[in-house]
């Protein structure tokens, strides 16, 4: 991403880089343990146990942004893993398998004390098992029960009525697994789990997400978006991986303050904004410049991605008497909320209306098939509401089939013909 309009975007990037450098120092010099987690894991538990955690998807995005994905994915294929296997969730593993930390971003991932993932798709248990074996470390899996009751407008129920929304038997099962995970973390860290500390952290997460909600409202209501989608993502995700801690809360507040001051001053991210676009799906990490490619010619600005919008709706939980149960409710249906019918389509349509979206680009990553599921329902729902959709068939981290010029042309045609 070339231009950074917000100071807090620069601060977020710098903090993440320094956080990772410190992590490497701690691991190599002080032999401090850390964990690698799938993005939808309860990072909160690891925080209260004092075990730093790196998100698999974040690391994948870093590799892609450094344009290293083709090299690692080719190497993985050469090891006998065929080219139809998922890339987003395996790119970090591929980087480890390649065994050249000198070439990897920021020196690569050191050996973790634990890898952990929720078994949402059928592939992730395989990716993490292979990865753990390569590292010579343990993989802790959380199984993922299916949702059978999915009432309308989940985002109106998730803050206060989460106990009923997410089905009690699923929550209890998830809590039971959390307790086993906690015992494992107690063994690794030598610390005792403190439920009060988790409650305090969860309250912090609520504060952080409330700031994000304010930002979201500012974007919805300002005449023109005050902050580009790219910068939204950088600021939000830097804080989400550390959600609830002091830095994350403060960063969310700074982000809110800076966006608010821009709105108050009538500053737009792109003053000649004419059209508001939404990006549905994971970020296009190997080419984030794509998101600003339609501003000059069409005044088309990407305003929405799930990363900011999901923060308040997906994370806020009020009523924290049983913080583990509340955390289970935050964890157990993330996939359904973000990707699958009926919840994802309904929520994304609501978001599109609130953000005054003119057109949507929906990523269907055929190189990461589980992430492609649910998309037709989202596209159909948006079109039904009069929001034109352009499906984008490419991968979020693998640029091997990406032709930026061709895609920019296609989007231009979409804007000219449909918006």
């Amino acid at each position: 991403m070339s231009e950074k309009q917000l100071q807090c975007t620069v601060a977020a990037g710098a903090y993440q880089k320094e956080w990772f450098a410190q992590l490497r120092r701690d691991v190599f010099e002080s032999r401090r343990p850390y964990a690698i987690l799938q993005a939808d894991m309860p990072f909160e538990i690891f925080q209260v146990m004092g075990l730093p955690a790196v998100s698999n998807q974040w690391w994948s995005a870093v590799i892609a942004a450094k344009r290293l994905a083709p090299k690692y994915l080719d190497a993985m294929n050469a090891m006998g893993f065929h080219d139809g296997l998922c890339r987003y969730c395996s790119l970090s593993m591929a980087c480890t398998m390649a065994g050249d930390p000198g070439q990897a971003p920021w020196g690569g991932l050191p050996k973790p004390a634990l890898l952990s993932a929720r078994l949402t798709c059928d592939c992730i248990q395989r990716v993490f098992s292979i990865w753990a074996k390569k590292f010579g470390t343990e993989f802790f899996a959380l199984d993922n029960p299916g949702a059978t009751e999915l009432p309308p407008r989940w985002w109106e129920l998730s803050r206060y009525r989460w106990r009923e929304l997410f089905e009690r038997h699923r929550l209890d099962f998830t809590v039971a697994q959390f307790r086993t995970l906690i015992r494992e973390l107690e063994r690794i860290t030598g610390r005792k789990f403190d439920p009060d500390a988790l409650r305090t952290l969860m309250e912090g997460v609520n504060r952080q997400e409330e700031y994000f909600e304010e930002v979201r409202e500012l974007i919805c209501n300002a005449p023109k978006t005050p902050v580009r989608m790219n910068e939204q993502i950088t600021n939000v995700m830097a804080a989400q991986w550390l959600r609830g801690n002091e830095w994350a809360i403060q960063h969310a507040k700074c982000f809110r303050d800076e966006v608010k001051s821009r709105v108050d001053a009538g500053v737009a991210a792109y003053p000649a904004e004419q059209l508001r676009l939404m990006w549905v799906g994971a970020g296009l990490w190997h080419d984030t410049d794509f998101y600003t490619a339609f501003e000059q010619r069409y005044g088309a600005v990407f305003v929405w991605s799930m990363y900011l919008a999901f923060g308040p709706d997906g994370y806020i939980r009020y009523g924290l008497e049983d913080p583990l149960l509340a955390l289970a409710s935050r964890t157990v249906s993330m996939n359904e909320q973000l990707h699958l019918p009926p919840w994802a389509n309904e929520w994304i349509v609501d978001q599109a209306k609130r953000h005054r979206i003119d057109g949507a680009l929906v990523l269907t990553p055929l190189g990461t098939k589980p992430s492609a599921m649910g998309n037709r329902f989202i596209e159909r729902a948006l079109e039904r509401e009069g929001i034109p959709v352009l499906p984008v068939f490419t991968d979020m981290v693998d640029p091997r089939n990406w032709n930026a010029a061709e895609m920019i042309k296609r989007v231009g045609q979409f804007i000219e013909e449909r918006l």
């Binding site: 090891m79 006998g80 893993f81 065929h82 139809g84 296997l85 998922c86 078994l119 949402t120 798709c121 059928d122 592939c123 248990q125 395989r126 990716v127 098992s129 292979i130 993989f139 899996a141 199984d143 993922n144 029960p145 299916g146 949702a147 059978t148 999915l150 038997h169 099962f173 039971a176 697994q177 086993t180 359904e336 699958l340 019918p341 009926p342 389509n345 269907t364 055929l366 098939k369 589980p370 492609a372 599921m373 649910g374 998309n375 037709r376 329902f377 159909r380």
Partner: protein, 380 residues
Amino acid sequence: MSESNSAAMRLAWHYENPMAQALEADRAGVPVVGITSNTIPWELVHAAGFFPVMLRPELRATPAADEYMEKNVFHARIRQIFDSVVRGEWDLLRAIILPRTSEQEYKLFLYLREVARERPRDGMPPVYLYDLLHSRSPESHAYGLTRTEKLKKQLEEIAGRPIATRDLVEEVAESNAARGAVRRLLRLRHDTPRLTGTEALPLIGAYWFMARAQYAKLALEAAEILERRGTLPGVRLLVKGAPLDRVRLYAALETHGAIVVAEDDWWGTRSVGTDIDAGNDVLEAIFEHYYSEAPSPRVFPPEAADRWFQSSVTDRIDGVVFYLPLEDYVAGWDYPRHKRFLDGLGIRSLVVREDAGAGGISLEAHEGIERFVREIARKR
């Protein structure tokens, strides 16, 4: 079949006409329930008074699925099931039960629910999720048992009558008899092969579409005649990879002098496992069987998932064929590990990256198979 074997012919006919008995049951007033894979407890569904039938649609165009399902993402069979349900071809079904033991089936469940909400249509069968988890942990085990109890309640509600314990015991006995018959056929493939894989798959697969008592009778009759055959020569192969319910690949392998004696697949060798021991708590025994014995892509950890394969390949297997069709995005993760295991044992293997379900086997693949089989035969 080279000899006159009307029982085998009838089994093969049911395999090719999977809805035949379901339609018959429907006409006779027995409500039919569709199931989508091996991890749905047949005994429970049948005990509730339903005729359970495995959904195995014909391979053909899927206009309804094309509207809702992402291309090249869902497996052909899942697309076909969705298409048939949405287009009203299976409105005779009283319900459809899908398990959580594969990601694709869970998503099929959500998709079908949503279509029913989006485009309500009289007659569209309601869908239920059997939330069986296949990770080996005390939590998943306990959860699975409660979900099995829930499934029992749901079936009782649909049927409008309770399921008695004695009914379950009877169903287990009937089902076990069919399992015994399948195992007899499996021995005829494996121990001293008297039937090819191409012949065996339909004979075993009919198990999923027929009344089990009738299946057991026919399968035993068929086995008795097949036992009189001489031993079939050929390179002994095991097939592993994506589930395969069509015989094209086997036919290609066997054309070149191999004989498929087993597959790590619930359509064949792994269809039945051992008997259910009704013992003290029959419901728990049924759950235990489907939790511990039924294969699925979600069995975890790999040591549990690999157990059958690792012990089977050491039992007189000359070579392994990995079936990894282009639509695969799961089994391919296991392939390098299995290949290393086989290399360690000196067992040769071959990867087939073609769609042997709907499509034909290419000339190139035929040539690869021919070389593979010839090479093994030369070294035997």
